[in-house]
C-alpha cells in the first residue's frame, strides 16, 4: 500500500481562516492561506467547506426576494411524475404478489433469489404484510416471508426511491424478522434483528409509524425476556405514538400487548381494564385475528381472576369466530381455554375430554412446550380426581414428545422430575404450578434450567 504523504503543519490562526472564509482577507494574508489550503491541509479545507455552507445558507435566507414560506403548489407540481411512478409500481406489485402467493415455498425462494423483477419497494412491502398476517397461524411461515422480504430489501437499488426510504424498508424487514424469531422462541436472534431494525430506523425517513411498530416489537421481546418494566415503557411509548397519529386500531394492538405484559406481571385487574380498552379500539374489519385475540385474552383474564362464569358468558358471544377465521392456532387456543373453563365450572368429564383434544392438537402441531403446559393443566385435574394412572400416562406421553422433537435437555430434565413424581404418586399441586411457570419461561428461553 502506498504511504500517505504527511499532512502539512497547520500554522493558520483561526481568526485568519475565518476572515478568509468571510472574504475579508487581503493581499499577502490571503495568498498565504490559499497556498496553505492548496498544499493540502485537510483540516483547514474542512473548516472552510463547513463555513462556506453555513454562509451560503445564511445569504440565501437573507435574500429579500425569497418568499417567506414554501410554495405548496410548487411542491405538488414537482410530485406528479413521481406519484404516477409509485402508483404504477404499486399496481404491478399487487399483481406480482397474487402470482407469487400461488407458488410453493421452494419456488418462491428461487424466484426471490434469481429474479430481480421483484426488486421493488412495493413488492417487498407487500411481502412484509403477508409475513405479518402469517404470524397468527404460522410463525415459521411468517419468518420465512420476512426473510424473503429482507433479502429483497437488502439488495434494493435506492436510486428510484432515495436511500432513506429503502433504509426504512430494511428496518421494517428486520423488525418483522425479529418478531417472528421471538414468536418461535429464538430470543437472542430476535434481539439481534430488532437492534438492526433500530439502526435502520435511525438512518431512515423518521416515519413515526415505523417507530411505533418497532417499539411494539421491542416490547413483545422484552415481555418474552421478562424485562417487564422496560417492556411497559416501550409499549406505552408505542401507544402514545399511535394515538398521536390517529391510528386507533394500532393503538388498540399496542394496548393489547400492554395487557399481556401486565398479565405476565400478575396484575390481572389492570390487565383486564387495559384489554377492555384495547377491544374498543381494535378494528375487526381491518384485522379480525387481532380482534379475536383481544376477546380471547379478555376471557382468559376473566378466568384467571376467578370470574369463570362471566368468562364463559363472554366466550359464548364470539365462540363462532374461531371457526369462521379457520386457523388452527386460534382453535387450539379456544380448546385449551374451554378445557380450563369446564374444569372450573365443575364439568370434569367434559374438561378431561377437552384437555385430551388440546393435547392431541398440540402434539400434532409439534409444540412441545405448549403441550407440556396443557399436560400439567390436565394433570392437575386428574390429581384432583384421584386418577394417578392418567397422570402417569400423561407424563410418559409428553416425555416421548419431548424426545422426538429434540427439546432442550433442561426441559427434559424438568419433565423427568414430574415423571418420577408421577411414578411414585408424589405429584403435588405446588410441583405442577412450579413446572407450569417453568415451561412458560422455557418456551421463550430454551436452555433455562429448572430450579425445582
Amino acid at each position: 500500500m502506498a504511504q500517505a504523504s504527511p499532512e502539512p503543519v497547520c500554522t493558520i490562526p483561526a481568526a485568519d481562516l475565518l476572515r478568509f472564509a468571510a472574504g475579508d482577507s487581503r493581499g499577502a494574508a490571503r495568498r498565504r492561506i490559499l497556498e496553505h489550503v492548496l498544499a493540502g491541509c485537510a483540516r483547514c479545507r474542512q473548516s472552510l467547506d463547513a463555513l462556506r455552507e453555513l454562509r451560503t445558507d445564511a445569504a440565501a435566507g437573507a435574500t429579500p426576494a425569497e418568499p417567506e414560506s414554501p410554495s405548496i403548489a410548487h411542491i405538488l407540481a414537482g410530485l406528479g411524475e413521481r406519484a404516477a411512478r409509485i402508483d404504477r409500481e404499486r399496481r404491478e406489485a399487487s399483481a406480482q404478489l397474487d402470482d407469487f402467493a400461488r407458488h410453493p415455498t421452494a419456488r418462491q425462494w428461487t424466484l426471490v433469489r434469481n429474479s430481480h423483477r421483484f426488486d421493488t419497494w412495493s413488492f417487498c412491502a407487500g411481502l412484509l404484510d403477508f409475513a405479518f398476517e402469517a404470524m397468527y397461524d404460522d410463525p415459521r411461515r411468517s419468518r420465512e416471508l420476512a426473510e424473503m422480504a429482507h433479502e429483497i430489501a437488502e439488495r434494493l437499488d435506492s436510486g428510484p426511491y432515495g436511500e432513506r426510504l429503502v433504509v426504512d424498508l430494511r428496518g421494517r424487514a428486520w423488525g418483522h424478522l425479529g418478531n417472528a424469531r421471538r414468536a418461535l422462541g429464538d430470543l437472542p436472534a430476535a434481539a439481534e434483528a430488532l437492534a438492526r431494525a433500530r439502526e435502520c430506523l435511525e438512518a431512515g425517513t423518521g416515519d413515526p409509524l415505523d417507530e411505533a411498530e418497532l417499539l411494539y416489537y421491542e416490547a413483545s421481546l422484552l415481555r418474552g425476556e421478562r424485562r417487564l418494566d422496560e417492556a411497559l415503557r416501550r409499549v406505552r411509548r408505542s401507544i402514545r405514538l399511535y394515538h398521536e397519529l390517529g391510528d386507533g386500531h394500532l393503538e388498540g394492538r399496542s394496548r393489547l400487548n400492554e395487557g399481556s405484559i401486565l398479565g405476565v406481571r400478575g396484575d390481572t385487574l389492570a390487565a383486564l381494564s387495559t384489554v377492555r380498552r384495547a377491544l374498543e379500539l381494535v378494528d375487526r374489519e381491518r384485522d379480525p385475528h387481532l380482534a379475536l385475540a383481544a376477546r380471547h385474552n379478555l376471557v382468559w383474564l376473566l378466568m384467571e381472576s376467578g370470574r369463570h362464569e362471566e368468562a364463559l358468558a363472554v366466550l359464548g358471544t364470539f365462540r363462532d369466530e374461531y371457526a369462521r377465521l379457520g386457523d388452527l392456532s386460534s382453535r387450539r387456543r379456544l380448546e385449551w381455554l374451554e378445557a380450563r373453563l369446564l374444569e372450573l365450572a365443575g364439568r370434569e368429564e367434559e374438561a378431561a375430554a377437552a384437555f385430551r383434544c388440546v393435547l392431541d392438537g398440540l402434539t400434532a402441531a409439534e409444540l412441545p412446550y405448549e403441550a407440556a403446559m396443557a399436560s400439567l393443566d390436565f394433570a392437575l385435574l386428574e390429581i384432583r380426581r384421584g386418577r394417578v394412572d392418567e397422570v402417569r400416562r400423561l407424563a410418559s406421553e409428553t416425555l416421548v414428545l419431548f424426545r422426538s422433537l429434540g427439546v432442550a435437555r433442561e426441559a427434559i430434565a424438568a419433565w423427568l422430575v414430574f415423571q418420577q413424581a408421577a411414578e411414585t404418586e408424589a405429584v403435588t399441586v405446588a410441583l405442577v404450578e412450579r413446572l407450569a411457570r417453568y415451561y412458560a419461561e422455557a418456551r421463550l428461553r430454551p436452555g433455562l434450567p429448572f430450579e425445582g
Binding site: 497547520c10 490562526p13 483561526a14 481568526a15 485568519d16 481562516l17 475565518l18 476572515r19 468571510a22 475579508d24 483540516r43 483547514c44 474542512q46 473548516s47 463547513a50 463555513l51 455552507e53 453555513l54 454562509r55 445558507d57 445564511a58 440565501a60 435566507g61 437573507a62 425569497e66 418568499p67 417567506e68 414560506s69 414554501p70 410554495s71 405548496i72 410548487h74 411542491i75 405538488l76 410530485l79 406528479g80 413521481r82 406519484a83 409509485i86 404499486r90 412491502a125 404484510d129 398476517e133 426511491y161 432515495g162 426510504l165 426504512d168 425517513t205 423518521g206 416515519d207 413515526p208 409509524l209 398521536e244 397519529l245 390517529g246 391510528d247 386507533g248 386500531h249 381491518r286 384485522d287
Partner: protein, 175 residues
C-alpha cells in the same frame, strides 16, 4: 393489517395540504427552517407519504408528525456538521487560547463567547482535549469520568457549544 383504503389522487392530496397549510407553515416557522430547505423537507415528507400511504390510517396527523420529525432531523444533521467543523479545527485554536477573541471576526468572537457560556465541566473537557491535546483516557482520569463515557461527554460538550453558537446568531437561520 392495512388500514382501509386511503383515497389518494392528486386532488385529494392537494385539498389535504390546503387544509393543513396553516399548520405546516406554523411548524416550519417554529423550527426556523429556511424556505428553500422547507420546500425540500415538505417534498421529502410527501414522497414518503405517497410511497407508504397504504399503511397510513390517518394521513393528516401522520403528515404533521413526519414533517416535525424531518425538521428535527434537519437540525440534528446541521448541528452535527457544525460540530464536525468545530472538532476539525476552529475550536482547537479558540479553546487553546492561540487566537481566541480576535477582533474583526464575528465567528471568532462568537466562538469565544460561546465557550465562555458553557458550564465549567464542559469547558474543562474542551480545553483538555483541544487546548492541551489530551487523549480520551487522560481526560477521563483527570476529570473523574469513566473511560468509556468520555467520548459521549465530549460530544455533548461540542453539541452544547454548537447550540450556543447558533443561539447567539452565528448563523441566524440555524437558531
Amino acid at each position: 393489517m392495512r388500514p382501509t383504503s386511503v383515497g389518494l389522487d392528486a386532488d385529494d392530496l392537494t385539498s389535504r395540504l390546503e387544509r393543513l397549510e396553516p399548520e405546516i407553515r406554523r411548524m416550519l416557522v417554529r423550527f426556523g427552517i429556511p424556505v428553500q430547505d422547507a420546500e425540500d423537507l415538505l417534498h421529502d415528507t410527501l414522497i414518503v407519504y405517497l410511497t407508504k400511504r397504504d399503511s397510513i390510517a390517518a394521513p393528516n396527523p401522520w403528515l404533521l408528525a413526519t414533517l416535525r420529525n424531518h425538521c428535527l432531523v434537519y437540525w440534528r444533521r446541521r448541528r452535527r456538521s457544525l460540530i464536525e467543523a468545530l472538532d476539525a479545527g476552529l475550536l482547537e485554536e479558540v479553546a487553546g487560547g492561540v487566537c481566541g477573541g480576535q477582533e474583526g471576526t464575528d465567528l471568532a468572537r462568537d466562538l469565544s463567547s460561546a465557550v465562555s457560556h458553557l458550564p465549567d465541566r464542559c469547558r474543562s473537557i474542551l480545553r483538555l482535549r483541544y487546548g492541551l491535546d489530551c487523549a480520551g483516557p487522560e481526560i477521563a482520569e483527570r476529570l473523574g469520568y469513566r473511560p468509556d463515557a468520555i467520548r459521549q461527554a465530549t460530544l455533548r460538550c461540542l453539541s452544547a457549544l454548537s447550540r450556543q453558537l447558533l443561539s447567539v446568531g452565528y448563523d441566524r437561520e440555524v437558531s
